[in-house]
Structure formats: C-alpha cells, structure tokens
C-alpha cells in the first residue's frame, strides 16, 4: 500500500470538511469581526439531527438513499434556524458592546448547545447505520472509499457554490461591501442586519452538511464532536487568513493534508528502533529485538498537528496565508 497517496486521500477528505466548517467562521468574522465559537456546536447539532432521523428511519422500508437524504434535509434547515437564532438572540443585542462580550457569549452558547445535545441525545454516540454500501476503489496502490469520494465532491461543490454566491451575485457584493464598511454599505441601501443574519444562516447550512459528512466518515455522532472539529476548522480559517473566503478553503485542505501526513509518518519517524545505530546492537538493541518497535509518538498525536500549525501561523504570519489585513482586534 502506498502510504503517501493514502494519507493524501485521507487528508483531502478531512481537509475538505475542515474547509467547509472554516467558511462558517470566516464569513461571520469577515462581516462582524466575531469569532463564533458556537459554530462547532452547530456542526455537531447538524450531525446529531441527521443521525437521529437516519437511525429512526433505518428500520423502515424506504430506500437507503431516501433515508440519508431525509437526514440531510432535516439537519440543514434545523441548523439554519439555529444559526439565525444564535445571531438574533445571542449576538445582535451585543453588536455595539465591547468586543469581549460577544466572544464570551459565543463560548457560553457553545457550552449551552453541547449540554442541550447531551440532554436530548444522551452521552452515548449515535452510530451511523450502514445503509448504503461503501465500496472501496484502488488507485495507485491506495484505496479511496465511496464516502470519501462523496465528501470531497460535495465539499468542492459547496465551496464552488459559495464562491459563486459571494463573488458573482448582487447579494454577494453586498456581503463583501458590508464586510468592508457597514456604514457605507447601509448608505447604499443594504440592510446590515439582514446581511449579518444571512452569513450566520449560510455558515450554519454549510456546517450542517459538514457535520453529516464528518459523522458518516467516522461512523458516529457525539455531543462533544463539535469541540475539536470546531477548533481545527477555526485553525484552518486562521491559517488561510481569517475573514478571507478562499483562505478558509485553502487553509482547511492544507490543514487536513498536514494532519494526515503527520499522523501517517509520525509513528515511523519517532520509532527509535528505526533510527540508525539504535537497534542492531546499539543502545536500543535489547528492546528492538525481533523487529519490535519503540514508538515515541504514535498516531494518537493526530490532533497535535492542527494546533502546532495554528501556533506557527500566529507566530510567523499572523494575517494567514491569504489574509491581507492583520487583525488587531480578535
């Protein structure tokens, strides 16, 4: 098996999910300079709603594709409503408050949503019933599954759709104008409240899709899944330049790749038995006898890479890869 190609495929899969989630952070930040820390929980709720619907319908006579579609069609509007509600109830009243207030509110909303999910769905993960066969295709010594192909394709489609909306439509121009100067945009007749609410709703819809995809990739949905996923997607948004839409896409894919490659190779490279001179009569000779391994950092260090990258970006290029303005505010 070709490990490099395999990890690239895996990285593109998770990376495209990170990218879609990162768009939710970056769009909201671009317009109101708020880091919506509850966005990861919106993604989680999307996965939970979809999985609950799918699990409930799993025993029925409906064709599997219809069941999955029903799950998605329940999750997306639920999350859009949630995104709208968050903005309306939690953030809009604080629009003119000091910047720390909405940030703390965002963290509070994140905790509330997590515990609501705990109350509704319990502490056990919801498993994704194996409804649709997940075939595996071999390419160049690696394998790509049907789910992976679907995730990458759907993510790319959504990113393309969002780019079209933001860069090619009248409303998209209004979103970018509002992001640049909300007062002048209002002089042009743009209702800022509507644009801001729209960015939350669009971000939440993307988040719901991401939640369903992420859940089906790992086969489970859980009330805590939004936390680390959210932090990673946020790191991806910062990596690409927070507030920058193409940046979030590039940042997400890059983060997924770094994470997958790092996870794929960290075990090999930190296996002391593979270090020259360590085994074969060296200082590790005894422990490495009979082809044994002595791995310092295994693939359970997966989550380290995203945050290492976040730290590196913040130190070396705080405005992100594609970001033009360094934010002094967040």
């Amino acid at each position: 098996m070709d490990i490099l190609l395999q990890q690239i495929i895996n990285g593109l899969t998770t990376g495209s999910v990170y990218a879609v989630v990162a768009l939710g952070y970056t769009m909201v930040y671009g317009v109101i300079q708020l880091i919506n820390f509850a966005h990861g929980e919106v993604v989680m709720i999307g996965a939970m709603v979809a999985f609950a619907v799918i699990a409930a319908l799993a025993g029925s006579a409906l064709p599997p594709a219809v069941i999955v579609l029903a799950g998605v069609l329940a999750a997306v509007p639920a999350c859009m409503l949630l995104g709208y509600g968050l903005e309306r109830i939690a953030y809009r009243p604080l629009r003119h408050a000091p910047r720390l207030a909405p940030l703390i509110t965002a963290i509070g909303m994140s905790i509330i949503l997590q515990h609501l999910a705990l109350l509704v769905w319990g502490r056990n993960p919801i498993a994704f019933p194996q409804l649709i066969e997940n075939p595996s295709y071999g390419i160049g010594g690696a394998a790509i599954s049907g789910v992976q192909i679907a995730i990458i394709a759907i993510s790319l489609l959504m990113m393309g759709g969002l780019s079209w909306l933001v860069y090619r439509t009248r409303f998209g121009i209004a979103i970018r104008a509002t992001a640049e100067n909300v007062h002048v945009a209002s002089l042009m007749g743009v209702n800022a409240d509507r644009v801001i609410a729209a960015t939350f709703v669009i971000g939440a819809a993307l988040g719901a899709m991401a939640g369903v995809m992420y859940g089906s990739y790992y086969g489970i949905a859980h009330y805590t899944m939004g936390f680390v996923l959210g932090l990673k997607a946020f790191s991806a948004a910062v990596l690409g330049g927070i507030g920058n839409i193409p940046g979030a896409m590039v940042g997400g894919l890059l983060l997924g790749l770094v994470e997958a490659l790092g996870t794929g190779y960290i075990g090999d490279y930190t296996d002391l038995c593979r270090w020259p001179g360590a085994a074969e009569g060296g200082w590790m000779g005894e422990r490495c006898a009979d082809g044994a391994h002595f791995v310092l950092f295994g693939s359970n260090y997966q989550d380290v890479f995203a945050f290492l990258m976040l730290i590196l970006v913040l130190v070396l290029r705080p405005s992100g890869l594609l970001g033009e303005r360094v934010s002094e505010r967040a």
Partner: protein, 237 residues
C-alpha cells in the same frame, strides 16, 4: 419659491457628553445647490452624518412630506437621499464596477441601471477604463470620482457631499467640482459641505456658515463672498 426638499429643525448631535451640533436649522429647496462651510471641527460632517442617520441626533429632519429623523440609514437611498461620505468611503477591495453596482443596490430596473451606468461612464470616463480594477488601487481623485459616480448610480434626488476636495491636488479638485457642477446643472439638489469656502461659494447659490456647532451666518454666496467676517475667517484675507 420652490418647496423645501429637506428641512432641518434644531438638529443636535452629541458624542458622549460633548455637543458637536447645537441645534442647527436650515433648508434646501428642490433643484438648489447649497453649501455648508466652516472650519475643521465646526460640526459640518456630524450634521451630514446625522441627516444620513449614521449618527444619532435630536431635532427634526423633514424630507419632502416625510420625517426621516428616525428612519434606518438603509431606507434613505430608496427615498432618494444619497451621501458621499467624508474620505470617500469607497469599497477598496471591490472592483470599480462592483462599487458602481453597489450604488444601484436598492434598484431593480435593470434597463435604467444600465442606462445610468452608461451616463456615468460618459461623465467620468476614467471609471469605465478602470472598471475591472480593484478600487483601492485608484488614485485619490479617481476614488472621489468613483464615490460620486456610485452615489449617482442610486439616482438620488438629494445629494449630500462631504468634503469632496479633501486631500486632492488642485487640478483634481477642479475636475471633481466640474462634475458636481454638471450634475447640479441637470437639476440635482445638492448640499455641499466644504472647508474650501471660496470654491464652495463660487459653485453654490447660497451658503450657511457653521461655527462651533451652530449656524452663524446664512446668505447668498455673493453676499457671503463679500462679507468681511467670512473673508477674514474662511477666505484667508
């Protein structure tokens, strides 16, 4: 006398506890071109911002038959009130074409928008040449032209202009004022705020002089240009 398109009564603007505008009253009639002159910090910009509802204010603002002193800012341009803000306020990351499209955001008459774009391209040919360029890369004068062109795309009845000459080279100021003159000659009602009193008074029929948040003199431009107080304070004589 024509009826007033905008009438302001006892307008007050406060920043925290500090009064920037202390109860000013004035009116601009339809088709008129009026200027508001005064030194830096006299409250001219605050007055315009309050009219465009970008600043909270007290007092009455009548626009046509309506009161607009509690109207949200985005509902003003559909009524025909446009402000070209101080410092131009162009969208620097949008292209010139997108900036102009934003000017017509509230309109849905595609044919009318296309016709207005053509007219504005004729009036300001530089904007056509630089259509696809990101607005932030334009020169200061071109940015001012864009800000005016964008406001005109909204087909306003009343154009509020805040310091259009600010930061521009004399030659460019000449061009900007030429455009304003053309627009006014076509019947647009204009309220012009300027620090450059001579330029403003030569362009407008009437003027108000603002000092420390209050209007101290109101007269025709001819009289103001001859007024020794105005000459001493604002015309550098």
């Amino acid at each position: 006398m024509a009826r007033a398109l905008i009438e302001v009564l006892n307008l007050e603007v406060h920043y925290g506890g500090i009064a920037a505008v202390k109860g000013v009253s004035f009116a601009v009639e339809e088709g008129e071109m009026v200027c508001l002159i005064g030194a830096n910090g006299a409250g001219k910009t605050s007055t315009l911002k309050a009219l465009a509802r970008l600043l909270p204010s007290r007092g009455e603002v009548h626009y046509g038959a309506e009161r607009i002193d509690a109207t949200p800012p985005h509902e003003l341009i559909p009524r025909g009130l446009a402000l070209v803000p101080e410092g131009r306020g162009i969208f620097a990351r949008l292209t010139v074409a997108e900036n102009l499209a934003m000017g017509a955001y509230h309109r849905s008459d595609k044919a009318g928008i296309a016709a207005d774009l053509k007219r504005i391209h004729g009036l300001l040919p530089r904007l056509r040449e630089r259509s696809a360029q990101v607005a932030g890369t334009l020169s200061g004068g071109e940015q001012q032209m864009l800000a005016i062109g964008r406001a005109l795309m909204g087909r306003p009845k009343l154009l509020l202009l805040d310091e259009p000459s600010m930061g521009l080279a004399p030659l460019m100021v000449e061009k900007v004022f030429e455009v304003i003159r053309t627009v006014a000659a076509e019947g647009m009602t204009v309220l012009l705020v300027e620090q450059n009193a001579k330029l403003a008074l030569e362009l407008c029929a009437r003027g108000y002089v603002m000092e420390s948040g209050a209007i101290t003199v109101a007269d025709t431009s001819t009289n103001l240009l001859a007024d020794p107080r105005v000459r001493a304070a604002y015309l550098g004589e």
